[in-house]
Amino acid sequence: MAAREIFQTERIPLVGMPNQRQATDGTAVTKDQRFINFFPMKYTNKLTGKETYYLVKRPGFETFLTPTAGSIGTALHVWETVGTAETDIMSAWGAVNSTIKKGTTSLGAITGVAKGFTEIDFTGTSTVVIPSSDNTAWYYPFGGALTQITDADFPTARGIQGKFVSLDGYLFIMDQFGRIYNSDINSVTAWGATSFIETTYYTGFGIGLARHHDAIVAFTSSAVEFYTNEGASPSPLARREMVTVPIGCVRPTNTYYSSIAQMREQLFFIGTQKTGGASIYKIEQYAFHKVSIPAIDQQLEVAEPNNCYLTNAKIWGMDVIILGAGTISYVYLPDFDMWCEIDGSADVWEVLAGGSANQCRVFSLSSSDTSGKIYQWNTDTPVWTDNGVAYTASAITSRVDFDTENNKRFHKVKLIGDKQASTCTIGISWSDDDYVTFSTERNVDMSQDRTYLTQCGMGRRRAFKFTNSTNTPCRLQALELNYSECGF
């Protein structure tokens, strides 16, 4: 093909999927296209159908409360009940025996580590129920006292898995052998010795329960089964036929990690199969969809699936599923079916909780640092630091070669994005050697009109990197390249 005319201009949308290749040494994959702390967004003109794509810097996490400085957090819950406030947020702290806090007020300690909160309202009093890592269970009626469920028929001896779920006045918990135990109707404290149903369609261990429409979803290590309330006794449940799928769910090694995330009527879980490997699946309308992409699946294997976790929230109107996978935390955005990464000086997003009451804000805590803080993922008056520490948003593109291996002289590299009100520095660098080395960053300021670099050298297959660490918003749209193709 003849050399192209000199000084061509190409505009490349700055969105895409992570497409890292497999690392060969068992370490995290870091090459190829990545978007870190930049979330992809798509806006569609309903009339013209034209779609516009953006990369939006995620908001930061700021301190909301500090209930237990010096401890890690393991569970978080925002009350849904009328009369409660966001400052009544429930949290569990400590790596051995959890201290339960309502806001900053201690409700006492439980034995073992709290794995989560489930809010129910059987008798007119909102109550949270807390499964513990030592197989005990606890409850706290709002305004009451933190109390252990002491019924001798509660399956403590069989080992409980996951969190409680409720349906039609029953409280359900799974044991490690796959039984689904239920409480007496409208009771938290009363449990029957025979009030259970076996999940035996496929042989496997119990992982946990969730809700899906009017069904209880039972996750085992070998299958996902659906149970509905058929009014039977002693267990009211009966398996819903034709929808069981032999995809197992990962059991996290860390007892307070969850491999299941519920986003309204969508369920996400870290799934495994007899054939090996792990992926992220979505259950919607009783149907299963694999949503993870090869780069994610590879990282799941690198990090080992049982060391990973899922958590979720909704910000800026977008559902956000976070997958902690070793040294990398991924974000899945179901609205766009896109993946990106989230990163910071501390993983302050390990447990997310949002509320539908009050200001509908999203809160988080970290189960790996000991700040003892509850953070607010503030989207109405966002900050661009995590716990006061700047984080870096990075976008690394795939290698740009315009379908030829010929050398290209890059005369101008322009960043298309929003003009910011204050200095918003974007460092631009590139790699011409397959991501091994990047050039020294040169900066543009998105608060200025001229957001471009000139004299950008020559490359055959060039990957660009954009980084922003300033305490400012940042929304990028495209990369515009002015280049000329050389003769070879």
């Binding site: 050399a3 000199i6 010929n406 050398n407 002289r409 890059f410 005369h411 590139w430 050039s439 020294t440 040169r442 670099l453 000139t454 004299q455 950008c456 050298g457 020559m458 000329s484 050389c486 003769g487 070879f488």
Partner: protein, 244 residues
């Protein structure tokens, strides 16, 4: 308006290479070229300025030296040679100074002969006061040139006379990264663009663009050359040498 008051701007070998590599796009702004890029460009830069020795005798490259006569027709010239000076590319003019009257020495021009003219001298060993000089620059970077005089100096010439030559010296090499060009400041621009043009094929710069660069670089060089020529009258006369 205040001006700097200085006119001592200079540049270095690597600064020229940096800018030339930037021109061809081999590096981006602020990027440091690899050592291979530097060495390749330095090679081209050196052969470029060597080639420019063909362009005549810009004033700044005209030097003079002198040497005493001995009873020989041939004198080697070069660093460490009989005449210890940089080996001339060509000798532009020469004269012989008779200092027998110390207070009033007399300069007598020497005719600069071509090789053919010198070869045509039948009796090269005849003696007297030299009237003819032929310079054989010889080849190779380290070779010495040879100055031939005729007639061979006799005792009187040896005792009283000294030869003065004005010659074009070669441009100095760019050896070290910080070496400054052996050119006046007005030459920096053509050096830069000629170097860019020489680098261009290696980086696949299209022919059309290279052609424009060469044309512009050549124009810059011509202007620089003109500034380096001596202004003076030109005289034409009839040669009194046989056969001319």
């Amino acid at each position: 308006m205040a001006t700097s008051g200085s006119s001592n701007f200079s540049t270095t070998r690597n600064e020229l290479i940096d800018k030339a590599l930037l021109n061809v796009g081999a590096v981006g702004e602020g990027e440091t070229p690899s050592s291979t890029k530097y060495s390749n460009a330095a090679y081209l830069l050196n052969i470029l300025v060597k080639a420019w020795a063909n362009d005549g005798m810009p004033l700044w490259a005209i030097k003079h030296t002198s040497f005493s006569l001995t009873a020989t027709t041939s004198y080697s010239i070069g660093t460490g040679a009989t005449v210890n000076a940089v080996r001339p590319i060509r000798i532009h003019s020469a004269f012989i100074r008779d200092s027998s009257n110390a207070t009033l020495p007399t300069d007598i021009p020497l005719q600069i002969y071509t090789r053919q003219e010198y070869d045509d001298i039948s009796s090269k060993q005849s003696t007297g006061s030299p009237t003819v000089l032929y310079y054989d620059p010889q080849g190779g970077a380290t070779a010495t040139g040879t100055i031939h005089l005729w007639p061979k100096p006799d005792a009187t010439a040896i005792a009283n006379k000294t030869v003065y030559i004005r010659y074009q010296r070669p441009y100095e090499d760019f050896d070290a990264s910080a070496d400054e060009p052996d050119f006046p400041q007005q030459w920096y621009l053509p050096v830069l663009w000629y170097l860019s043009w020489m680098l261009a094929p290696s980086y696949g710069i299209p022919l059309e663009e290279r052609t424009v660069w060469l044309r512009e670089a050549h124009r810059m060089k011509e202007e620089a050359l003109e500034a380096g020529m001596e202004e003076g009258s030109v005289y034409f006369g009839v040669s009194n040498r046989y056969g001319r």
